[in-house]
């Protein structure tokens, strides 16, 4: 009897220990989250002022703003979305509607998943050899293409998944009425999965907004206001990188302010993306 009691006590102790460790692990994860966000918010707000949105990036040691960098980031992100989204939706359609259960479908999904988690610096180098070397100089266009390659796999994956969630009865009903496949896809399936695909695009936008590494080799940076996409263009992440690594106080302050804006933008965007998906799900029920 005593042996059984001991065994029971040992099992309960093990269980207690494991659960305590699970609580500790979660607290450990949340601790860093709170610390990092706290740093970003306090340092960011301390250096926030209107000049940030009205002045250009300053020369070394001077104060100024990030207007040209915000503009460049917005421009390149929109271009990247404009390039990545149509190709991504088309490829996702191919996967879900044409080769869903075939070998080629499995292979493309495999490759797409690798592209999805591939280091962004590698994609930057790829676009460098592809575009920058061919053109002979850095350009915002090359930056947008590099970001486009990050958008692409995200959109492919969400489109594929969302289309496969559409009940097959919908397809069968439309096809049996004699509606051609392309019309079924564009007018019925896309409508049914619209909010899901939109979520994917928003999440992709959130992902490229803070992306730095690929822009180092493609868009580079520009201290001045530029709207020419064939020339180097300022962008927030690279400016943050350069300014944070610099020894000048004014530059470091700008880097913190920029970091704060980018983080808030990214977090709010991913929150909004989730809400879009959630609202639709509730609406369907």
């Amino acid at each position: 009897m005593a042996a059984v009691d001991r065994l029971y006590a040992k099992r309960r102790f093990k269980n207690m220990l494991a659960l305590t460790l699970a609580w500790t692990a979660t607290a450990f994860g949340l601790f860093w989250l709170v610390w990092i966000l706290w740093t970003t918010v306090t340092m960011g707000i301390a250096h926030l002022d209107w000049a940030l949105f009205t002045k250009m990036t300053p020369p070394p040691g001077d104060s100024g703003g990030l207007l040209n960098a915000f503009f460049g980031s917005a421009m390149m992100s929109l271009l990247a979305i404009a390039m990545g989204t149509p190709i991504g939706i088309a490829a996702g359609t191919f996967l879900a509607e044409y080769v869903n259960h075939s070998k080629i479908g499995t292979v493309i999904r495999f490759v797409n998943d690798i592209l999805l988690s591939a280091p962004s610096i590698v994609l930057g180098l790829f676009v460098y050899t592809l575009v920058v070397k061919t053109m002979g100089h850095f350009s915002a266009l090359a930056g947008a293409i590099a970001l486009g390659f990050i958008v692409l796999p995200v959109v492919v994956r969400t489109t594929d998944e969302m289309l496969r969630l559409v009940p097959s009865q919908m397809r069968e009903a439309a096809l049996s009425l004699g509606v051609p496949q392309w019309k079924v896809t564009t007018q019925i399936l896309y409508r049914a999965s619209m909010s899901g695909i939109l979520t994917g695009v928003l999440l992709a936008l959130a992902r490229i907004s803070g992306e730095t590494a690929p822009l180092l080799f493609t868009a580079l940076n520009n201290q001045y206001w530029s709207t020419n996409i064939l020339q180097p263009m300022a962008n927030v992440p690279v400016v943050i990188f350069q300014y944070a690594m610099s020894p000048y106080d004014a530059w470091q302050s700008l880097a913190w302010a920029g970091a704060f804006i980018v983080t808030m933008f990214v977090l709010l965007l991913s929150l909004f993306a989730r809400l879009v998906l959630l609202r639709n799900r509730v609406g369907n029920d």
Binding site: R12, K14, N15, L17, L19, A22, W23, A25, T26, F28, G29, L30, W32, L33, I36, L37, T39, T40, G88, A90, A91, T93, F94, E97, Y98, V99, I104, V107, F110, V111, D113, I114, L115, S117, A118, P119, S120, I121, V122, L125, F126, Y128, T129, L152, P180, Q181, W182, K183, T185, T186, G210, E211, T212, A213, L216, L220, A244, W256, A259, T263
Partner: protein, 329 residues
């Protein structure tokens, strides 16, 4: 006459229908071609990325041959480049990251699926996922300006005094407490990959059929026994897949590591010393590369990183697919 008329009307409708079908046939074919081309584009872009970097790095591979992987020189002045320091730094920081992230992620996944009260699960899961949304450059800045000073003042002197005296592992933990270096980079990387690994683990834990867990509970198992003897064996391959997914992230992460690694091209036994990684070397030096062999060496480094992460991610994907296949059956 009326007969002829009706025939012509019939043939008219026939032609009309034929016209419409051939028209939509054409549109169908065009649509099919377009989406197929996009699918092929995805397929091709990955191999194009690999080939373009192999092409860009050919000068380095030709000049240095296998020595590129075995030498530690990194001398832009004499045009001598070896990748060993960067490869070593990449592997060591990723390893430290995994040592931190894997147990913590497992704990978080157990917490979120078994241990926590139900009302806590969704909010905490979303909070942990917030960590994944923070741009990596923010981790880098925080690591450089906030974490590194704290480590060098409080933690590293203690590590020096206590762990530095260990018989075998001692040299790993001795060195000036700079705050920047392999251990700091590994820690930041570990924090960064926790949300990736824990969300995969949590998702696959949720796929374990409730009747399996309920049977174990009905036999009197404790929560820990259910996790260890039922949940983990059922999801083993996917859990390993999730860990490899995190490893892939850790190997290729650039900005965070660039900030905290210290950018030193020296091989040192101590984890407290600054080092370098493949991604950090490329990010730091790409715009400064002034000779073609320098540039080519950096692109060759990128090629090496690509191949390593490709293998790791492929293993991850195959492991994750194994659970899906069983689920499908």
């Amino acid at each position: 006459m009326s007969n002829g008329n009706s025939i012509s009307a019939d043939s008219m409708t026939g032609m009309l229908i034929e016209h419409r079908t051939s028209n939509s046939n054409g549109a169908d074919r065009l649509f099919r071609w377009t989406v197929t081309a996009a699918g092929i584009f995805v397929l091709v872009s990955l191999s194009a990325a690999a080939l373009s970097m192999l092409w860009g790095g050919r000068e380095a591979f030709q000049t240095f041959g296998w020595k590129f992987f075995t030498t530690t020189d990194w001398d832009p002045v004499q045009h001598k480049f070896g990748a060993l320091v960067a490869i070593y730094g990449t592997l060591v920081t990723a390893l430290i990251a995994m040592i931190i992230a894997v147990p913590v992620s497992l704990g978080i996944a157990i917490f979120l699926t078994e241990a926590a009260p139900r009302w806590m699960r969704t909010p905490i899961a979303s909070a942990i996922e917030l960590l994944a949304g923070i741009p990596s450059i923010i981790y880098g800045m925080w690591g450089l300006f906030v974490l590194a000073p704290k480590l060098s003042e409080n933690i590293y002197p203690w590590i020096n005094d206590h762990l530095g005296k260990l018989p075998l592992a001692g040299p790993l933990f001795t060195g000036p407490p700079l705050g920047l270096g392999m251990l700091s980079a590994g820690l930041v990387l570990g924090i960064m990959v926790i949300p990736f690994i824990s969300s995969v683990m949590r998702e696959v834990f949720l796929t374990v059929p409730a009747r399996l867990k309920e049977s174990a509970y009905a036999l009197g198992s404790t929560t820990w026994e259910v996790v260890w003897d039922v949940v983990l064996p059922y999801t083993r391959s996917a859990v390993i897949g999730g860990i490899f997914l995190g490893l892939g992230r850790a190997l290729g992460e650039t900005m965070a590591v660039t900030f905290v690694l210290g950018n030193a091209h020296e091989l040192s036994a101590s984890l407290l010393m600054p080092g370098n990684s493949i991604a950090a070397t490329i990010a730091n030096e790409f715009t400064e590369a002034d000779s073609s062999v320098y540039l080519s060496s950096l692109i060759a480094l990128g090629f090496v990183l690509f191949i390593v992460t490709f293998i790791v991610l492929a293993i991850a994907k195959l492991m994750l697919m194994r659970l899906q296949r069983r689920e499908g059956k």
